[in-house]
Chain length 359, copies 4
């Protein structure tokens, strides 16, 4: 029971990379929300393979079908099932990995856990599962729009190329202006160079996605275990290839003094409570304070490389694994809509949880 996420706005995903379909049931989405097929498809298009020459050349159109829960253009309050068929799922040859444990893949751990695995592609461990998250996230994003809440993820680091500008200095409408999804054009160009270099070396490279959530009212998040940032952290860490999460001042904040780090409150001219700095990242005691929420998510380099690697097979014997196939040299550009989706799902859930308290 680990394929569900969320308490009230809850998704359950299914599907492996080479089965007939991947999909999701969204249970708990409020009734009366306008949603079109196009809106869900648009989110999937931002994630789809083959969208540029720095992603996998594998070209899938990832067309979504709405199986239930939407009637006459509106959600009905009943479960919304969304499915995307996998193309050509029978056409490939997996004999080279059928018995291999690929380095830093989940082949070995799935086998250890289940005593078996679906060796076609990564099976369930494939990032193809995130299709379902992005489709569901489109509904959450729609709900957030009703509240004036926006979610903007972007690539802030690729390899050693790091975007130094604070998000408040960026034009977040420019995220999709280039193929690496970094809203700063110059940095984007350098990032693209790093990805191309990795690709041309038959290698891969990691990076960081940053995300800003604006318009969240004060009061979301639950004290103690389900703190807003703890759920955001879990949601991000559940994405394939993620190795770290920090919000607000993050790891850098640890070397600050309390007197530097504390965010002073003041009342602005409109009478709103604000803070002069935002080291808190918009969250205090696990609850939103009305300021911008921002966080960073670390992605490791993709494990699939097109070079030969030493490893073992499922008999424990040493083997050399040849790299083949069509893979992403860097997941960062396509991870952006996944971070958006998961962030939106977390906030949507907390909106509903806070609403429940208003009895």
């Amino acid at each position: 029971m680990s394929n569900s996420y969320g308490k009230l706005f809850r998704i359950t995903t299914f599907g492996e990379s080479h089965g007939p379909a991947v999909g999701v049931i969204v249970d708990g989405c409020p009734a009366g929300l306008d949603i079109s097929h196009e809106e869900i498809q648009h989110a999937l298009d931002r994630r789809r393979p083959g969208q540029s020459d720095i992603t996998t050349p594998r070209n899938e159109d990832d067309k979504v079908t709405i199986l239930s829960g939407v009637f006459e253009g509106k959600t009905t309050g009943t479960p919304i099932a969304l499915a995307v068929n996998n193309r050509d799922q029978h056409s490939h040859d997996y004999s080279h990995i059928q018995h291999a444990f690929r380095p830093s893949h989940a082949d070995y751990t799935y086998t250890a856990k289940y005593g078996t695995r679906d060796y076609r592609g990564g099976g369930r461990s494939s990032a193809r599962e995130t299709v379902a998250r992005v489709a569901a996230g489109a509904l959450a994003i729609k709900l957030l729009q009703k509240y004036g809440i926006s979610v903007n993820a972007y690539v802030s680091q690729v390899g050693k190329v790091k975007l130094r500008k604070h998000y408040t200095k960026l034009d977040l409408s420019k995220i999709d202006a280039n193929k690496v999804r970094c809203p700063d054009g110059k940095t984007a160009a350098r990032m693209i160079g790093v990805v191309e270099e990795a690709r041309d070396n038959l290698d891969t490279i990691g990076g960081v996605v940053s995300c800003v959530i604006q318009g969240v009212p004060a009061g979301l998040g639950e004290p103690v275990f389900d703190k807003l940032h703890a759920e955001l952290g879990k949601a991000m860490l559940s994405i394939n290839a993620v190795k770290g999460f920090e919000y607000g001042s993050g790891f850098e904040g640890v070397s600050m003094r309390g007197s530097e780090h504390n965010d002073q409150f003041y009342t602005d001219e409109a009478g709103n409570v604000r803070t002069r700095t935002n080291n808190s990242g918009g969250i205090q005691g696990g609850i939103s304070n009305g300021q911008d929420i921002y966080f960073n998510v670390a992605f490791k380099p993709v494990a699939t490389i097109l070079q030969p690697q030493q490893t073992i097979n499922d008999a424990g014997e040493d083997i050399t694994l040849k790299g083949k196939g069509r893979h992403d040299p860097c997941v960062l550009p396509r991870a952006v809509p996944i971070v958006d989706a998961m962030a939106a799902l977390v906030i949507a859930d907390f909106i509903m949880r806070q609403q429940a308290n208003k009895v």
Copy 2:
């Protein structure tokens, strides 16, 4: 419903800093586990205030009472309730903070969320809640011992003083050998100096706790949303003052190439599957691979400082808040047993979840 953690080995905590008691119900702890009052008390003693001159001078003995679930020295399978009375809960004067929103505290967010707050100390947002976690964690640690699993958290950074040694070069039996809980004596001495300097300046300082979990069998953790590291991340981020979490290669891993980062498998002389490097931090695809699990947790500087600060009151008016009371200049030493407890609770829960699959 945010005061519970865990799916099968599940804790629910209660209590605020200045109410009659704090405590926990541990629901799902297997029957037949030997547990003594002393073992739980020992864990609490590592967390208790007043344990050294670099923690708060507030001296509480934090004596635990077992209210249920243990019979003749063994757990019975029924809920284990543990309570610790708060001393002197009526003796203090909170008039200076009754109407103030302390900077980077949860006063404002609790008020925004609930329309009210218990202004005595931090109420429920106080780190006193972690008493309950540490008490419950003692049971989880006991369960882990049956499986030969050890959890060792230690302080690896205070302010800018960072322990550069890899955990494999440390003697983890030395964690409690000094009052800052860094197993490297020289670094510990420098850290203590940093804490003392902050304290003497009526200020506070942050840091990092690192944690190593050894002996975890391959196969723990659930794919997709409840990945082992995602749950560890949530558990850590749920601890007061935590701002970030990373495991394995973490944020540094993002600038590595896949060919560098991938952990090659081999079979050791005993026939066990091992990896030559451990950038994966013992977890692949969200599931343990039998190698050591290790991670870092970032703690911000304590928000309560003994200096005057500008802020507002609950009428939105500017005020100057005077620092007073007895507080920790640095939470890191006392955070170590909390990290141990939360890590143990996560692993205990996944042991039970994996056991359930073995039908």
Copy 3:
């Protein structure tokens, strides 16, 4: 993890019959609810042993302590812990049952499940656990009052003596007017006779508690698995000694024709949607329709009898078990506040769940 109930208004109970205390954490109770110690105590007084000569003569005062979550007479939104100390928990001799499996008790099943059991009284299987439910229920009842919802359980059958009047013909304010808690005086007198006869024969007798919930707005309950009546059924069936649950037309309705059973809708003079009959018991498709909700709960005779019984011990050997101690000849009168509490907890939870949908 079976000691919790409710999704948003959630209780977790602890304690066994002869441990130091029994109690409950109420997690999710909305902030700002007025609650006094007296209100909780009053509910417990309706349940307490020794309240009349047709209940157990064991006299316990069951005084409740509020450990957290209430500040200045109001709930704060944080977990509310309530505890009741057990008196004299060390004073009894249980050697006669230490190794016996009492007929129709849980001694054997607990041993089969856990490999051990707390043989003092029933341990966790004792109906003493319901102290915690009644205490928590007092909070739920308070929440329901805000919505104009009332819950009235009463004894409608003891042995073969059955109250034939429909609840609409009863004065529900008279439930506590007699010691058996049947609001019809004449029937109550006959029921008391039946209990006395059972008691005087060193035997026990079962019965039925009926319950009416009035003022529930249309729209509570969730379709499919968490139907309003399905949750009420589970809540009732979770009470010790309960053997059956039916709502609306119940088991009698099965022999009706659809044309008889269907409840016609009409609009009343005030413009409200009503039904001319109420075979639906106020629930259609699992969701309240605004009419009265009513249901019946079957209780078996108490298993503890003061007569000798044949059974086996934990070595599998035949033994004769002598009845002793002070026990209820009939649980029905004391079950009434437990049914009230569980019904209120279910409705409170669904109020919050429905509120969450109103985003």
Copy 4:
């Protein structure tokens, strides 16, 4: 979030009567279970419309597709998605019920809850949702077979025709021997007559399904809230049209004396603990005792009748609703596989929960 059932063996269903498909995700089914498409289809065939002249003449073949989670004939441990397309979902005319609140249907309550409803057929409130339960139940039944556990539901009452024989006197292999699914041929014939009479009168009739679960080991079920019979009760009450649940001695047991009702333990020749009577219905203190589990489920008459009925429309105006379409005069024969499925799902979940305790 009410479209999921089960804690470890967990199903989430989707789909409305006239959308593109209905289906289910089974999350938590253990890996390595043999399952064929035919086994799932067989279960669905027992439920399908048009199977005899006493069910609805609407003929749907209800062909299932396995979308994920099964590889090379075995479950992989990952979520199993099953879908059944609805035929002809666009072909009908619903204008006669678009604005009507049909008596004893969920039209009014869904509208009250969600502010909208899918008026095509019953939408999500249609019993078509149970297709998903039966498909998922086939997997649970397969798991139970590994443990030697059998589930046998049958029709024990239709209208006033009641099967008087105790289940131990029946040949449970004969359940499918007639179209009403009562294993006693003579009683079956009388039941069929009652259904035909109702049908010919353009009316409907209710009844009772009884169920026997054999081979359950002692120790399943959780004390307090998740008692085995409480979960069975909830599962049954969640089925469309169910009005009551009783197990063991049930409602009849309330008029027994404790000395009559108690089940004496003895050790049989094989050394197994048994009880001489089984008023407990195989469950004591919420936990299975190794004896047969048996229970009854009351179904009301189908609300859709082919006679004109008085009701109101969504403007609150009186209308006469004409019956039309093809509907079941009695749900009982088709309810049998649904009861089987839900019972199997409950037991499968508890097997996994008990397994988790064995750490």
